[in-house]
Subunit: 407 residues, 2 copies
Amino acid sequence: MEKACIIGVGHTKFGILKEKGLVDLLAEASLMAMEDSNTGQEDFDAVYVGAMSSDALNNISGIASALVDKINMIPAAADHIKNGPASGSSAIKAGFQAIASGMADLVLVVGGEKMTHVTTPGFITSTVATITHPEAERIHGISLPAFAGLLTRTYLQKYNAKLEWISDIAIKNHENGALNPYAHFQRTIHDFMESAMKKGKGQWNNVHEFLKDDSVNPIIAAPLRLFHICPISDGAAAVVLCKEKLAKKYSDTPILISGIGQATDTHVVHEREDVTVLNALRLCSQQAYKMAHKTPEDIDVAELHDAFEILEAVQSEDIGFFKKGEGAKAAHEGLTKIGGMIPINPSGGLKARGHPLGATGVAQVVELVWQLRGEAGKRQVEGATTGITCNFGGFGNNILSILVERM
Amino acid sequence: MEKACIIGVGHTKFGILKEKGLVDLLAEASLMAMEDSNTGQEDFDAVYVGAMSSDALNNISGIASALVDKINMIPAAADHIKNGPASGSSAIKAGFQAIASGMADLVLVVGGEKMTHVTTPGFITSTVATITHPEAERIHGISLPAFAGLLTRTYLQKYNAKLEWISDIAIKNHENGALNPYAHFQRTIHDFMESAMKKGKGQWNNVHEFLKDDSVNPIIAAPLRLFHICPISDGAAAVVLCKEKLAKKYSDTPILISGIGQATDTHVVHEREDVTVLNALRLCSQQAYKMAHKTPEDIDVAELHDAFEILEAVQSEDIGFFKKGEGAKAAHEGLTKIGGMIPINPSGGLKARGHPLGATGVAQVVELVWQLRGEAGKRQVEGATTGITCNFGGFGNNILSILVERM
């Protein structure tokens, strides 16, 4: 198999981007990735767009066709790949396979979502909840935050962990996000606290005290509070993929996609023997490690799917960095900070970079590319040569891991 | 490149299937294809689902994850591929690339749509219209039937053709559909006419007279009438793909996918120099012919995308069977009937088999598999060894052609 390389990346600012539509965001990230890769429109064979809810949120169903027109890439093939909030990773996998199959030499993959214009109360939550099981789950009103609350309770009890450790993950990710010019929140939680104090909203001695105050950090799905949960964001991210043997033609610093894994688990969460174990992640990360001839010990930096901060703890275990039940404690002890044993989410993760659903899987890979190229600025993980991602397409029922390395 | 073979096919009845939901239909076709291919759940590496409007029409966004759970195929990878009414063909292309890349040995591809439960007036038409350009087209109220009406007027005028010849395509496709036990309409237009006469709705001397009567065949988008347009249908179709070298392990009659092409054209229809020329089809069919080392003269049978009967005429030209402007006349002269020079839509096409959007591209390939295996019953094209499809992902702006042949 000839693997694919990443020769260029693009990333819009994530956040509340009022003036731009979904196709505008996809185009912006795409053109950045093309500029970064020294490619021209006529070089491309295919485009893969990852977006979760463009039908529901943007009333557009032909986004891949619309994008190739907007960026003058006609007659390149164009498809839209959907896998919930892992649509971006599934789009990268589709692009990788297009190249590895020999059907394409150069492929653009772009993920994006435009969400913050939606003002109908509950519409975003109910739209995202369309990835849950219609009869066994959704009909009872369960949503993704509810699952995350239940998982947090179970995890804390089973592994004798503390909610403060989950808060530590949020604190770390906001510290990282404060160093990321593309992040939705470029502020530490300490910054949020000081700002609240200045506005006279209260007085707190430290961020943990701030995070326990209902008036500034309300409970959303007990025990999870607002700052344990990622925001709703707009944004897009793109990568240009090419055949390994053509990579040096376009880039001095191509990054190899050396492993990709994808696995599913029971659609219904309650059917799993142990909700704290992500079988799909264990399987898909093993596939990625095996394909790349790597082990978890080889990984220098990881981008995990902390849509809820409990998930980063659980994923850091099932992807092989820590023993089961020790992920939250490891974060508390600082092992996952930049400069720690295994830096996780130097980008700020979904918590601080933001989570425009379909963009996230691509943005994770873009961050790893910047890290492996040594272009991550103040959040650089020194000497990183190998990175891995975890991207959730449902509540643990469809997960991808992408392993990238310096060539 | 190791190409992929089709070792099994499945096809639900198309039509108004009241009792079944979308995932039920996908599962039914999938299980049929698995039985037909002598495969078990544990054999599969990946599943690709093609569906256009499951978010809007069925309020489900994780259909691929839901399907693998329902058919016990966990932990196989699962993705949802969207390309408007060509979602099924794009899913086949994705499955082909998964195999040709070496990432998968055995892949299930299933396309489906559940539409007829929607009773809100205009909702289906406006949902389908989300593939048109939001600012240049949709905002002005244009829909797909409107485009087809305009194309028909232009074609008839430019090539000195007659509307009766377009009607002849519908007549042929209903004759073929009457021989297809899976078709939505298993009745000839002559049957419809006789039934209307029995009910006292009128008296007509022949079907052309019947088709010109506003009371039984009203104008939908002038000059197109009801019988020039495909129905809204429910249904699903599936194929099991495997590596060429494993095919004989599962099937005595594997069918090779020897060529696949996909190309885009301007998203906005009015930007094309000549609306009667399908540039994307010319390109994608040339890609498929080239990949398969075939020419249009090698094709024994074709399944084209007659969502509107004018499209079959135009496509039969741009795919290389007839000179520009001669497709409608060729149909009128019987060249595209079963037994004719190049039989088109022996299945009944979208007109009579029905058009559950995401199912269509897969159903086209399933029909060709039956034809090449010699299993098409009364609608068999004798001695067919090679077939090709055309599937539309928008109004000419994203088209796929899949070329299959007997091994």
